[in-house]
């Protein structure tokens, strides 16, 4: 496949994010809140999160270094088209992140503003609910950003 170094790097980041945080999401939703105390559930979630962050750092460092080693300095730095594609896709990721943050803020403020308790929490019994909503929104925005970047590269759109 005819790919620039930046596109290969984006593919790696997308796959690493999907795999590592996909497993993390499954693990968090598998925590049995009824058999654990709240603090124990938080401890399990935080242990899983630490592992996920560690894995993503290790994968990114090792594989990004390997990809970079295969290219020239100019390819590693990227050119004007790479920068334009990065800017365009950053915009998509930013929109997803903004909407997610606004929804989370709404979820936190609703009970205080109009005395209406949100029922979303009841459907998703996970430890540190608000923290996880923000984390998942961030991960989703990253996935959108990487995917849009790849689509633009594949389409030669910009």
């Amino acid at each position: 496949m005819n790919m620039t170094l930046k596109e290969k790097s984006t593919w790696l980041s997308l796959i690493a994010t999907l795999v590592v945080f996909g497993f993390y999401t499954i693990r968090v939703f598998s925590i049995d809140m009824s058999s654990l105390s709240e603090q124990e559930a938080i401890d399990v979630a935080m242990a899983n999160l630490s592992s996920a962050i560690l894995y993503i750092i290790i994968i990114e460092i090792i594989f990004q270094s390997l990809i970079s080693a295969a290219g020239s300095k100019a390819e590693v730095e990227g050119d004007e088209r790479d920068r334009l594609i990065a800017l365009t896709s950053n915009n998509s990721g930013y929109w997803v992140l903004s909407i997610g943050v606004i929804i989370t803020l709404g979820q936190l403020l609703l009970p205080h503003a109009i005395g209406m308790e949100s029922s979303i929490k009841a459907y998703f019994p996970i430890p540190l609910f608000e923290v996880h909503v923000l984390l998942f929104v961030f991960i989703l925005s990253e996935i959108v950003r990487f995917t849009h970047q790849i689509v633009l590269y594949r389409k030669d759109a910009v």
Partner: protein, 69 residues
């Protein structure tokens, strides 16, 4: 696209210069040259001037603006 170019033709008349050689000469990737040739990407003025300069042609001979209806 309103801006069309004759980069492929210019390469042909420059002893069939490769996309890689052109890319290295103007400081972009080969994929960017491919996108330019397919009229999928409009390069910056700087890169457009560099390409025209490399082929010893005025800019408007390599890149042309075609008004859209």
């Amino acid at each position: 696209m309103a801006i069309v170019n004759r980069v492929r033709e210019c390469r042909f008349f420059a002893d069939e210069m490769t996309q890689q050689a052109l890319a290295e000469a103007v400081g972009v990737t080969r994929q960017t040259i491919m996108a330019i040739e397919k009229n999928k990407y409009n390069p910056s003025l700087e890169v457009a001037f560099k390409i025209a300069h490399l082929f010893n042609k005025p800019l408007e001979e390599v890149f042309t603006y075609e008004a859209e209806d």
